[in-house]
Amino acid sequence: MNTSSKIYNTTKEALSGVLFDGMIILSGGFGVVGIPENLTLAIRDSKIKNLTVVSNNCGVDSFGLGLLLETRQIKKMISSYVGENKLFAEQYLNGEIELEFSPQGTLAERCRAGGAGIPAFYTKTGVGTIVAENKEIKNIEGVDYLMEKAIIGDLSIIKAWKSDTSGNLIFRKTARNFNPPFAKAGKICVVEVEEIVETGSLDSDHIHLPGIYVDRIIKCSSYEKKIENLTTSVGK
């Protein structure tokens, strides 16, 4: 490992010194697209527990965050949708896991705001629903808005397609999703990528996420890239 570099050789090294029990981890991805699948495995193997995990979904059975349910490392999830996971439902109904639902756009904005130094914001989303319970309502020019607080994580684990050696990132298609706002809202951001290229070989005008948000980079050789709902134009 080059000591002045952001590049690490293994997922375990990339997470060394930043993991602790009870921490808040932001984990990128939508469904199982663009999830940090290898870093998730390393967190499972680290055996840290009582985690609060912020992620739009909770993986599927035996893949992605579903793996951390199997090992009961998650104490609380903050998500917008947890439908695809039987183990989650089971642990939730048993009272083993806490769940905070945040509407999808509110969840993304809470993290974007957290990364941008904005402690809270007002939105129409959720006004008049159970999401508004115990939250401040403010009338601005005749319209009711509710206040949502920013989220800042102890650690963000994200997935990008390519990184240069400076940590400038390019994502691929809909695998971008929550990764950039989560990267910004983590005190430490570790990214796993499919390819690392020399700084200078990416077009600076085409960088999706500047390296200032990225602390550690690990290139992973294996990607399962599971498909949740294979749908084709000639039948399944």
Partner: protein, 209 residues
């Protein structure tokens, strides 16, 4: 004869106007895309970070990195663009999306919508539905007129947890098309061979026509 699901999707597709940016919800609303008239150019938005949703791929074209909000594999179009989730919802909450078509459990006379939670059953989450109904310019509900047990889904007041208050503009069911204006439901079109009497008898909410 009430409308079939295909008839309902066809009717809903007429609400997609040339130049619109639209978000279609999971399930029947997604199928509306199959009936967009050829001379109408609309751009479909997927809240996981894409504008310009293409058709489902051939098996040989499947790319695990391109999915829609229902996690189905899809394709891109020449005009497609990708962006992150906060950008995607800025489009929604900023009022840049012209139309959203969603399913529902209940819609009230005031346009309140309940479509995400049945108390006592496992709650899967609201996903992006609360953001969509709060931010999109026009919200159309596409749903069966009655639940499986026969109860009306057009109700005086929703008794299920809300997705949004006074957010629905139009409802398309197997019995007809309804608009909500000034907290009243107005019947604007009956399905083929469906009488006003049948609609009234199968509806809890008050309907004007």
């Amino acid at each position: 004869m009430a409308w079939s699901r295909e008839d309902m999707c066809k009717r809903a597709s007429l609400e997609l106007k040339n130049g619109f940016y639209c978000n279609l919800g999971i399930g029947m609303p997604t199928m509306v895309a199959n009936y967009i008239p050829e001379n109408v150019n609309v751009t479909l938005h997927s809240e996981n970070g894409m504008l310009g949703i293409g058709p489902f791929p051939l098996l040989s074209e499947v790319d695990p990195d391109i999915i829609n909000a229902g996690k189905q594999t899809i394709t891109e179009l020449p005009e497609s663009s990708y962006f992150d989730s906060s950008e995607s919802f800025a489009m929604i909450r900023g009022g840049h999306i012209d139309l959203s078509i969603l399913g529902a459990l209940q819609v009230s006379e005031k346009g309140d919508l309940a479509n995400w939670m049945i108390p006592g059953k496992m709650v899967k989450g609201m996903g992006g539905a609360m953001d969509l109904v709060a931010g999109v310019k026009k919200v159309i509900i596409l749903m069966e007129h009655n639940a499986k047990d026969g109860t009306s889904k057009l109700v005086k007041e929703c008794n299920l947890p809300l997705t949004g208050m006074s957010v629905v503009n139009m409802i398309i069911t197997d019995l007809g098309v309804f608009e909500i204006e000034n907290e009243k439901i107005k019947l604007i079109e009956k399905a083929k061979d469906v009488s006003l009497e049948e609609i009234v008898s199968r509806t809890e909410a008050n309907i004007s026509s």
